[in-house]
């Protein structure tokens, strides 16, 4: 296929995708798990954006939520615990034609994979990163995670977590080149969907923390917010996550946050009296490493050959 464009195959009919085109297998999550909501939103997003299944890659680490790629009929990479971000970066580096989604959990991203989290945000390569945060290790059966609240009892800390939870939002907002930081909840599908859609359309790395409960190990973690939506603070802004009537009807407690104001974003992200959801930061102008890594893409064999030969000849005797 030398010299032919990647999309050279003539399309006899325009392809139209429906939800089923993105469905694969039967999810093996526990009933009541928030992962179902994320899966549904992602499929809906793919359908609405008419993403070519073969041009879409869902990358994950290890954990309950990292099973997600198995349930989407696109390409998928279910790799190692804590390492989905380097893999996704490597996929993105030389394939700007692919849509890259990353599914990671609070253990995967904020514990074993922390280093990659910081650097992937710094690289700001175009991809949608979904942190499915249920504040507990589920697959290994109830161990404290970095986002477990202080005092919460687990199998590794039966007397309760000793330290306060790490805040993934303030961490992400502090990273140079952070370009899209949002938070949403699994129990409001409309806000979840709207957030993922904005994230997917963002030209850079979009980091979305999705607050979830684990039906087995942290069933009541968000009771406080679910029972009384006024404990949730909806961040609004013309340039924020669009909120439809369904969302506005539920979340009455609102605050406007300019997503270009990083200091204000940090302040909101650190709040503990309410659960802020919405867009904290959006900077489509941030530096992007994937624009650097794609240099020389598609170079002809003749040119490569000539360059290699010229490099060898620098050592001629």
């Amino acid at each position: 296929m030398y010299g032919l464009k990647q999309d050279w195959i003539p399309e006899p009919q325009a392809r139209q995708f429906v939800l089923e085109d993105y469905e694969s297998g039967v999810p093996r999550w526990c009933s009541g798990c928030g992962d179902f909501a994320v899966l549904q939103s992602l499929r809906k997003l793919a359908r609405d954006e008419q993403l070519l299944p073969e041009k879409t890659v869902v990358v994950s680490g290890i954990g309950c939520s990292s099973r997600l790629p198995h349930y989407v009929k696109t390409y998928g990479f279910h790799g190692l615990h804590g390492r989905p971000l380097p893999v996704a970066s490597g996929i993105r580096a030389r394939r700007p034609d692919l849509h890259v989604f990353v599914v990671t959990g609070d253990g995967d991203c904020c514990a074993i994979g922390t280093g990659h989290w910081i650097h992937a945000v710094h690289y700001n390569m175009k991809m949608t990163v979904m942190l499915l945060d249920n504040s507990i290790y589920g697959l290994t059966k109830k161990q404290t995670s970095p986002t477990t609240g202080k005092g919460y009892s687990s199998n590794t800390h039966p007397d309760g977590a000793m330290l306060s939870a790490l805040n993934p939002l303030t961490v992400t907002l502090g990273i140079t080149n952070a370009s899209f930081v949002a938070q949403t909840v699994d129990w409001n599908p409309a806000h979840l969907y709207a957030t993922l859609l904005e994230a997917h359309r963002h030209p850079g790395l979009a980091f979305v923390r999705i607050i979830q409960r684990c039906p087995h190990f942290t069933p009541d973690a968000h009771e406080h917010f679910q029972r009384d939506p006024s404990n949730v603070l909806l961040l609004t802004h013309p340039d924020g996550i669009p909120a439809d009537d369904v969302v506005l009807r539920v979340f009455k407690n609102r605050d406007e946050l300019d997503p270009t104001d990083r200091a204000a974003a940090l302040e909101h992200a650190a709040r503990e009296d309410v659960l802020p959801i919405g867009l904290f930061l959006r900077n489509p102008e941030a530096e992007r490493y994937d624009l650097c890594s794609a240099v020389g893409l598609g170079m002809s064999a003749e040119k490569k050959l000539a360059a290699a030969q010229a490099a060898v000849d620098r050592f001629l005797i």
Partner: protein, 658 residues
């Protein structure tokens, strides 16, 4: 790449009357400015013709003796001589000056024909101070009769302590039988540059150009090539320095050597192993090099950082060793077979991803430039200690291809083979180099880069929906892989046990079958490998088996022993996994078989060591298990390459012991 160097190991005789020996008290006298220290006797010096010589440049770290040696080596190679260089690298960037720890430099062995190893003790040394020489003494690099050109600036140092230690060292060198000629390096350079610490090295090159009658024009050319980027002024200053050293030597040095060059018909190139690997990566059409800095592998990426873009490639410096291989595997999954570079400690960190690459069948080239271990070990020094770690990288059964180049030319060519094997067998391929190959310069036949070496473009044609993503051929274990972008090829790669559709499967039958198929790929590859060639007679009293960079020294030792009438041969392995076939049959034709390696093994005489508990060197361990032949070993971990004479001595004892 099977040209073997045959070198005479006889050492040249330095004519003592042409060289000044320090007399007590003499070196303390400050020579009158501008006057030569030692005038040669009248008349032209006699030129001594030698088959080979070992030359060293040593200085404090930062004074440039390394680049002086590289330049001397390059010019010699360009004049048609065989060359092997060995870098002498301090572990720190700025160790305290005038100490053993500060010793930095380059050893250059030049020969009439091809040179494959660092040789024996030094014939001629240029030393920028006397203290760094003690580091070379510790490494056994000098002998009675070694000729040393030593900067005399320390004789007149304002610090009486330095003056005294200089005088003491001169006396000590005399008693060791070294032939020392003091040279006014510092003072001469001061006439040209304000800081002779940046300049002495080119003066030293000039000095040895006169002694070895090298082509001065070539030196001028190399200076232009090396310093051209820094501007005209720097080039001119360095040329003036080299000229000054050259002219000073013509006037004041009474020895001349010539290592005649045997002309070769082929066009040659000269470079070190890391440069060769970098060029091999480009010639293989690899587009992604993902790495994290680690000595002694990093310089591969330094070269690529400047040249890769012209060939459409990109160097990713990752945040850590794990991310480096993770990024590479992402690129691999997306269709580009990448390379990742590392050394021992980085290999340790990469093992989980190596397991994933094996399990999920992702092509990847992993270069491991070995250094001393375990742990941080000897970062700048050589060892062959990662063979078993490479073979067994990753828990569980993780069969992978492991190859080891044995020359600089092979460092180049193995990269092309490695990429092709990785893609054909859908597996990681590890290429084990070492610190000796990494920095050693050697000429080899200029490769003509061919289009078929280049990776093909990523296949984006439609996948046949009926074909599963792991459509294993039961005979070979080989399967084709769909790449994102290929319509109807969608699958989810997983590190979990999976069936041919890449569906997670925990059942006994699938796990057994898929493990078998992964292993079968190695068996298939082994069927296509040729039995290794024996160096020497195909049968005899003793067969020495080696791998990697020790080949040159082993073969030179074998040459020497065979000249002495001993019935010995050697064999060098380039494929360690799968092992090259036919070994058992070859081994059975020798009365004794042993390996010689640069890694650790117990000596049978060590306290508490009995035969059942003796820990063998790594290749010996492997060969014993694979062939059931009683393969013995001799191995050491000195951090420096083995010399032919040391190997010869060991083999001679082994032959006597029977």
């Amino acid at each position: 790449m099977t040209a073997h160097g045959r070198l005479s190991t006889s050492l040249p005789v330095v004519s003592g009357d042409k060289v000044s020996r320090p007399r007590a008290g003499e070196s303390l006298v400050d020579p009158p400015a501008g006057e030569a220290v030692d005038r040669p006797p009248s008349g032209e010096p006699r030129v001594e013709v030698v088959d080979q010589h070992v030359v060293e440049f040593v200085s404090d770290s930062g004074e440039g003796a390394q680049s002086a040696g590289q330049m001397f080596g390059t010019v010699s190679a360009k004049m048609g001589n065989g060359v092997w260089t060995l870098e002498i690298i301090p572990a720190e960037i700025e160790p305290p000056p005038r100490t053993k720890a500060s010793c930095s430099g380059n050893r250059v062995r030049i020969g009439k024909g091809p040179v494959t190893n660092m040789g024996e003790t030094a014939d001629v040394v240029v030393a920028f101070n006397e203290q760094v020489l003690y580091s070379r003494i510790d490494d056994g690099a000098l002998r009675a009769g070694s000729l040393i050109f030593l900067d005399n600036k320390w004789a007149a140092d304002p610090d009486p302590g330095i003056r005294e230690s200089y005088a003491r060292a001169l006396e000590d060198f005399g008693s060791r039988g070294y032939l020392v000629q003091e040279v006014p390096m510092h003072e001469q350079c001061l006439r040209i540059v304000p800081d002779p610490r940046r300049g002495k090295n080119m003066w030293a090159v000039g000095l040895l150009c006169a002694v070895y009658q090298l082509d001065v024009d070539r030196v001028r050319f190399e200076i232009e090539a090396k310093f051209g980027r820094k501007g005209r002024k720097v080039v001119d200053a360095n040329r003036a320095l080299a000229r000054a050293g050259y002219e000073w030597a013509l006037e004041n040095v009474g020895v001349r050597y010539r290592v005649p060059a045997e002309p070769v018909d082929e066009t040659m190139v000269v470079m070190n192993g890391n440069q060769a690997m970098a060029l091999g990566i480009m010639a293989a059409g690899i587009e992604v090099c993902s790495m994290y800095p680690i000595t002694p592998a990093t310089s591969v990426s330094h070269f690529l950082a400047r040249s890769f873009a012209a060939a459409g490639g990109f160097v990713h410096q990752a945040e850590d060793e794990i991310a480096a291989i993770g990024f590479a595997l992402g690129a691999s999954y997306a269709g580009k077979t990448p390379v990742t570079l590392t050394s021992g400690p980085g290999l340790a960190l990469k093992t989980e991803f190596i397991g994933l690459a094996v399990m999920a069948e992702l092509p990847l080239v992993i270069v491991v430039v070995q250094r001393g271990g375990p742990s941080t070990g000897l970062p700048t020094r050589v060892e062959q200690g990662d063979l078993l770690a490479a073979l067994h990288a990753s828990p569980g059964d993780a069969p992978k291809i492991v190859m080891a180049p044995t020359s600089i030319g092979e460092c180049f060519h193995f990269m092309i083979t490695a990429r092709q094997l990785a893609e054909t067998f859908r597996t990681p391929v590890m290429v084990l180099s070492d610190a000796n190959l990494a920095t050693g310069q050697q000429p080899f036949e200029r490769p003509e880069v061919r289009q078929e070496w280049l990776a093909p473009p990523v296949d984006q044609s439609r996948w046949q929906a009926a074909v599963e993503p792991y459509d294993w051929d039961p005979e070979t274990g080989i399967s084709q892989r769909p790449v994102p972008g290929q319509r109807d090829g969608q699958y989810v790669l997983t590190g979990l046990t999976h069936d041919s559709a890449s569906r997670v499967a925990y059942d006994a039958a699938t796990n057994q079958r898929t493990a078998t198929l992964r292993s079968r790929k190695l068996a298939t590859l082994r069927r296509s490998l040729k039995p290794p060639e024996v160096y020497g007679d195909p049968e005899g009293d003793l067969l020495v088996v080696c791998w990697g960079s020790t080949r040159g020294a082993v073969e030179e030792a074998i040459d020497g022993l065979r000249q002495d009438g001993e019935n010995v041969s050697s064999l060098c392995l380039r494929f360690l996994s799968p092992l090259e076939p036919g070994l058992e049959e070859i081994f059975r034709r020798f009365r004794q078989v042993m390996t010689v390696e640069l890694n650790y093994s117990d000596d049978p005489e060590d306290p508490h060591v009995d035969e059942g508990g003796r820990r063998y060197s790594q290749l010996a361990f492997l060969l014993r298990a694979a062939t059931l032949v009683d393969v013995d070993c001799w191995s050491r971990v000195p951090g420096i390459p083995l010399s032919p004479s040391r190997i010869k001595e060991v083999l001679r004892q082994r032959l006597k012991g029977e």
